[in-house]
Symmetry: C5
Subunit: 344 residues, 5 copies
C-alpha cells in the first residue's frame, strides 16, 4: 500500500483537499504527499491514518496528536488540523460536508456572542466530533420509531416483508452501534491519556511537556495557566461528546437487543405454529388414510368380478354401513392412540 512504499520509487500520491483557514476562508487545493509532510511536520507513517485511499484498512476512528498537527480520522471524515488551517481530505463524502457545515459558522466572529473563543484547532476538533455525533443521533432518531413500530406489531402480524424490514433495521443498528461505540472508545482512550490532551493544549504555545513528569513547563506563568484552563475545557468537551456517544451506542444496543429477542421469539412462535399445523395435518392424514381404506373396500366391490354377494338384497347397505362405521372406528382408534402417545 502507498503508505509503506514511499521510498521504493513509486509515484508520489497527490491529494485533493479543501483548506479552511482560521478566518473562515475556504479553498480547494492539490497537495502532494511530500509537501504535506513538509508543511505539517508529520512522519510518513502518520499520513496513513487520514489517507482516504486506505479506507478499508484504517477504518477505526482515531485522533492523533503530533507536534504541529492533529490528525482526524472519523469514518468518512479525514482531516489534518494545524494551528492556522485545516486540510479536509475526501471532501465530497458526507463526513467532509457535514464537518464543513458545522465548522464554518464557528469561525464567523459574529456567532461568538461575547464568550471567550477557543483556539482554532479546538474549534476544528469540536466541529468534527459534533458533525459526527449529530449524524449518529440523526440516524438513531430515524431508526428508532421504525424499529419500535416493527416491535409493536411483529409477533402477531408476521410476514416475509416485516421480517425483511426487521433484518434491515437490525443491520443498520449493528452498524450504527459499532460506529458510535468505536468513536466513544476513541474518546475514552483520549480521556484516559492526560499526556495526549496536554499535547493538544501546548500546541502553538511556548510550553514543553516533560516525559514521565506530569508538569507543563511554559515560558510565562500566564501561558501555563491558559494551558491548564484549556486542558480542563478539553476534558469537559470530550466528556460531553463521550456521553452523547454512549447514549447513542447504548440506545442502538438496546434496540438491537430488543430486535434480537424479537427474532428469537418469532423463531419459537413459528416453531410452535408449525407444530400446530403439523398436528392438524396429522389429523387429516389419519382421516385420509381411513377414507382411503374405505375407498379401497368400495373399489374392491366395484371390480367387474363376481363375488356372488351382489345377489343378496341388503348387501349394498350392509357393506356401505360396514365401510363407514369401520372408517369412523378406525379413525377414532388411531386418534386416541396418537393422543395417548402425546403426539397430538
Amino acid at each position: 500500500s502507498s503508505g509503506d512504499s514511499l521510498s521504493l520509487g513509486i509515484r508520489e500520491p497527490v491529494y485533493e483537499v479543501i483548506e479552511v483557514k482560521s478566518d473562515g476562508m475556504v479553498s480547494t487545493r492539490k497537495i502532494s504527499r511530500r509537501q504535506l509532510l513538509k508543511s505539517s511536520g508529520l512522519r510518513p507513517r502518520d499520513i496513513r491514518s487520514v489517507d482516504p485511499s486506505l479506507f478499508l484498512t484504517n477504518s477505526v476512528p482515531s485522533l492523533l496528536v503530533r507536534e504541529y498537527a492533529i490528525l482526524l480520522n472519523l469514518g468518512s471524515l479525514r482531516a489534518i488540523a494545524m494551528q492556522e488551517r485545516v486540510l479536509i481530505f475526501d471532501h465530497d463524502r458526507k463526513g467532509g460536508k457535514a464537518f464543513l457545515k458545522s465548522l464554518l459558522p464557528r469561525l464567523n466572529p459574529k456567532n461568538n456572542n461575547g464568550g471567550q473563543s477557543m483556539p482554532f484547532e479546538l474549534e476544528v476538533v469540536e466541529a468534527a466530533l459534533l458533525s459526527r455525533i449529530q449524524r449518529y443521533e440523526q440516524r438513531l432518531m430515524e431508526l428508532e420509531p421504525r424499529v419500535q413500530a416493527l416491535l409493536d406489531v411483529l409477533p402477531n402480524r408476521l410476514s416475509g416483508d416485516m421480517l425483511e424490514q426487521l433484518r434491515i433495521s437490525k443491520q443498520h443498528l449493528v452498524e450504527l452501534g459499532s460506529r458510535a461505540g468505536a468513536l466513544g472508545q476513541m474518546l475514552l482512550d483520549l480521556l484516559e491519556d492526560p499526556e495526549e490532551i496536554r499535547r493538544i493544549c501546548i500546541m502553538g504555545k511556548n510550553c514543553t511537556l516533560k516525559k514521565g513528569d506530569d508538569n507543563l513547563e511554559c515560558s510565562t506563568p500566564l501561558e501555563k495557566q491558559i494551558a491548564e484552563e484549556e486542558e480542563e475545557e478539553i476534558e469537559m468537551l470530550l466528556e460531553n461528546y463521550l456521553q452523547r456517544c454512549e447514549s447513542c451506542h447504548g440506545q442502538a444496543e438496546r434496540l438491537l437487543d430488543s430486535a434480537r429477542e424479537m427474532e428469537d421469539s418469532i423463531a419459537v412462535n413459528l416453531s410452535s405454529r408449525r407444530l400446530e399445523v403439523s398436528r392438524v395435518e396429522l389429523l387429516l392424514q389419519v382421516g385420509t388414510f381411513c377414507v382411503g381404506v374405505g375407498a379401497l373396500i368400495a373399489g374392491i366391490f366395484g371390480m367387474n368380478l363376481k363375488s356372488y354377494i351382489e345377489e343378496h338384497v341388503f348387501a349394498f347397505w350392509l357393506t356401505t354401513a360396514g365401510i363407514i362405521v369401520g372408517a369412523v372406528i378406525a379413525f377414532f382408534l388411531m386418534y386416541s392412540y396418537v393422543r395417548t402417545r402425546k403426539i397430538l
Copy 2:
C-alpha cells in the same frame, strides 16, 4: 439539535419547570435557557443532559456535578439541584412525580426525627435515587411472580398465548435490567471518582479542591471536618443505592437468563415433538401409499373393459385377497425399511 445551535440565531428554548425550595415550597415556573444558564452558573453544553426535548440522545443516566449545581438525568426524571432549590423538568412524567412524592416529606422538619439533617442538595440526590430505585424494585416485584408462574407451567402447557406472555415478560425484563444496570454503572463511576464526590461536599462551603492533590482546603478546620464527614456519608449512601441497583439488575438478569433458557428448551421441545408428529405422518403415508396401490388395482379391475377373468368363479376373492395381503406386506416391508435406516 437545540443544545448545539445556541449561538446560531435559533429561537431560545423555554422550559416549564417545577421549582422546589429547600423549605418545601413548590411552584411552577417558566424559565428560558438564558435565565437558567445565568442563575445556575452552568455552561450551555451541560444543559443538554437534562433537556427533556433530547430524550432519545441523552438517555444514559448521569449525575453531573458543577460548581453551583448538580444535574440529574435519571431516565424520565430530569432535574437541576442547586443549594437552595431544585428545578424539575418534565414534571408530568412518572419520574418527576415519583421524585416529588419522595422529596417533599424529607423537607418537612417534623419527619426529621432528631437525627442530623443532610444538606438540601444531598436530600435531593437521595430522593431522586430513591424514587428511581423504588420504581425498579416495584416493577421487579410485579414481574417476578408472573415470570415464575410462566416458568413453572410452560414446558408442558405450551400455547401461543403463553409464548406471547413469555415474550412480553422478557422484553420488560430486558428493559428493567438495562435501566437498573445503567443506573448502577452511573453510581459505580461516581464512587470510583472521589474528586466528584468531594465536589458535591464542598458545594456551598468555603472550601476549594486542589487538582492533582487529594486534599481539601477550607477556610475553617470545622468546615473541613464537616465536609469530610459528609464525604463519608455520601459514599455510604451511594454504596447503599448501588447495592440495591445491583440486586435489581442481578435479579432481572437471573429471571431473563431463566426465560432465555426456557425459550431454548421450548425450541428443542417443539423440534422434538414435530419430529414425533412427522414420524407418525410418515407411517400414515406409508399406509396411504399401500392403500392407494390397492385401490389402483381394484380400480383397474373396475374398468369397463373385458379382462376375461370375470368369468372365473373365485376371481373376486382371489383378487381381493391379493390386494389386501399385498398392501399389508408392502406396508410392513416399507415399515421395516425405514426402521432399519433409523428414520422412523
Copy 3:
C-alpha cells in the same frame, strides 16, 4: 418499602430473631427495629441488607462491616454478628438452620483441640461462609452425576422426558452457578478492599484506622501485632472460601456449558432427522401421486360411459399395462428430477 419510610409514621417493624451468645447459649427473641439500631450502633439504611422482608430486592450476597457489627446477607441466611452475640433473622429457612448447625460446635470449647481460638465474630463469619458453601457443594454433588448421566445417553436415546430432565438440570445449574458466582464475587471484593478487612480486625480492640494512611494505630504494640496477625488469618480464610466458591462456580458453569452444547447438538440432530423423514415422505408422495394418476385413468375407464374400446379384446390388458408402466416411469422420472436438483 419499610427500610426507607422509617420516619414517615409507619408502624415500626419487629423482627423475630435467634440470638446466639459467644458462650453458645441460644435464645429466641423479638426485637424492634429501634432496639436493634440502638444496640448495634447501625444506621437505618444498613438494616435493609439483612431485613428478610425485602428478600427480592436485597438478594445479592453482602458482608457489610460497621463499627460494632458485621451484617451478613448470604441468600436465605441473614444475620448481624456483634462482638459477643449474633442475631439470626429468618431462622426457619434452610440458610439459618445450616448456619446454626455449623456455628454451635465451634463455640464448644471442647472442640477447640489445642489450637488458638478465633474471636467470636470471625467464628460467626467462617461458620456462615462454610454453611453456605457446603450447601452449594452438596447441591453440585447431587446435580453432577445426574447431568453426566443425561449427557452420556442423550444424543441417542432422545425422548421428551429426557429433554425435560435436561431442562430442569440446566435450570438448577444456572441457579447454583449464579449463586456461587455472586458469593465468590463478594469474597473477591472483600479481599480487594484491605480497609474492610482491617475494620473486621480492629472490632473490639483499642485500635483506630486512619483514612488514606494504610497503618493501624493501637493503644499497645501487642494489640497491633494481634490485629495484624488476625488480618493475615482473615485473608487466608477468605481466600480459601473464595477458592471453594470458584471451584463450585466453575464446575457448575462447565456442566452448564456441556448441557448447552448438548442442546445445540440435539437441535441439529433433530433437524437432520426431520430432513430424513421429510425426504422419505417426499418419496412416498411421488409414489402416491403416480398411483393417483393411474387410479384416475382406471376410474375414467370405470365410468358408465361408452368408450367403444370395451369391445376390443386386449383393451383391458393394454390399458392396465399402460397404467402400471406409465406410473412406474413417471415415478422414476420424478425421482431422478428431484435427485438431480439435490432435493432428495
Copy 4:
C-alpha cells in the same frame, strides 16, 4: 466434608502417597492427616486443596505457597512439594503417573549436563507444569486433525454419524479449552503476584519477606543475590508455561469456534434443504389434489346410477377430456397462485 470436620470427632483420614526424595528415591507411604500437618507445617484448611477425596469441589487448579511447602493441585495431579521431598496423592491416576515420569529424569544428576541445577522444589513445580501442559498439547494434537477433517467434509457429506462425531469433538474441545484456560489463569495470577513468587524463592533460605515493603532481607548478600536470580528464573519459567497454555487454550477455542460456526451453518443448511423438500411436496400435493378431484368426477360417473348421459356417443371422450384438461388447468391455476404469493 472431611476438611472441615477435623475437630468434630470424625475418624482421621489416612492418605496413601508416593514420596519422592530429592535424590530420586521413590517410596509408597501411608500418612495420616495429623502427621502430614505436623511434618509440613501446613494448616488443616490448606490440605483441602490437595485432598483427592474432594475432587469435585477443588477442581480449580491451584498452586499455594506456604512457609515450608508448595501445594500443587493441577487436575488429577495432587502433590505437596517440600524442600527435600515431594508427596504425590492419588498416584494411580494419569496426572500422578505423568508427573513421576517427568520428574524422575530431572533428579538424575547425569541428565544435568553442566548447567546449574535448580532447587528441588522448583524442579518439582516445573515437572508438574510440564507434565500437565504436555498432556494438553498431546490431546490437542490428537483432536486437531480429527476436527479439521470433519470441518472439511461436513457441510456436504452430512450424516447422523458425522454430526455425532462433531458433537463429541466439541465436547472434548470444550473440556480441553477450559482446563488449559484454568491452568493459564492460575499461572497468570501467580505472575501478577510477585510476593508469591518471592515466597517460593526464599523457601529454605535465611531470608525474610517484609510485608508491604518489596525487599527481601537475607542473612548474607550472596543469598539475596541467589534469591533474586531465582526469582527471575521462576518468572521466565512461568511465562514460558503460560505461553504454552495460552497457545493450547487459543487453539482449542479457535477449533471450537469453527465447530460452532459449522453447526450453525449446518442448521441453516438443513432448514434450507427442508424448505426445498417441502416445496416439492407442496407441488406434489397440488398435483394429488387435482388428480383427486378428477378421480372424484370419474368415480361419480362410475356410480351404478343412471345419468342418461351414457347414451350419448361421445360422452366418454368428452368427459375424459374434461377431467384431464380440468385437472391440468386447475393444477396450473393453483401453481401460479402459490408462485405469485411467493410460497413456492
Copy 5:
C-alpha cells in the same frame, strides 16, 4: 516434545535457516540447536517459540526480547533477529517469503533517501510486522467485497450454493479476525510493558537497565539520548501497527457480525417460509380429505351391489349434487375451524 527433552539423550535437531546479514547478504544455512544456543545466547526454553516443528503448540504470536536476540513468532514467520543478522526458519512458507520481500529493500542503502536509518534489529522487527499486517489487509480486501455482495443479494436469492459461500466466508473471517486480534494483543502487551521496549533499545549499546528503577544507565550521555529517542520511535512504530491490526480485526469482526446476523435472519426467514408452505399444504390436505370422502361415497355407489336406488330417475344427479355440495361444505367448515383456531 523436542524442546523439553534436550538433555535426555535424544538426537539434537538441526534447523535449515536463511541468514540475512545487515548488509543485505542472504545465505541458506544448516544450524544445529547447540550452535544456535551458543551463538545467540538464548536458553533452550526460548527456542521453543520459534521452532517451526512445534507449530501447533506455539501458534500464539510472540515477540520475545532476550539479551542478544529478539525472537519473532508471527504465524508462519519464525525468525531470530540478532544485532548483525537475522535467521529465518521455515523460509519456504508464505510468512518467511513475504518477510524477505519486505526486509531486503530496507537494507539497500539507496532506498534510505536521506532519512536517518534505524538499527538493523528494528528494521527486522518492522519488516516482520509489516509483512504480516499487509497480508491480513490484503486478505481482508479480498474478502470484503465478496461478503458484501453476498449480504446484498442473500435474503432474497437464497440457494444452497449461496449458503455454502456464506459459510466459507464466515470461516475465513473468523480465522482472519482471530489472527489479527492475536497479533494486536501481542503489540498491546508489548506497548504496556515499557521494560521490554527498553530492552530492545539497549541491545548492542553500553547501557544497562536497572530492575525496579525506570532509568537507563549508559556509558555516555549521547548513547542514553539515542536510546531514549529510539524508545519513542519504537513506541510510535508499535502503536502504528497496533492501529492497523485493530482496524483489520475490527473490520473482520464487523463483517462477521453482519454475516452472523444474516444467518440468523435467514433461519427465521426459512422458518417463516416453511410455515407458509405448511399452511398451503394443510389447505390442500383439507381439500384432499373432502375429495376423498366424496370419492368414497362415489365408490360406494359404484360397487357392484344393488342399492335399489339405481332405479330412481334422478338418483345420479341427486347423489352427485350431494357429494359435491357436501365436499364443498365440509371443506369450508374445516377451513373456518382451522381459521378460528388461528392455525391457518
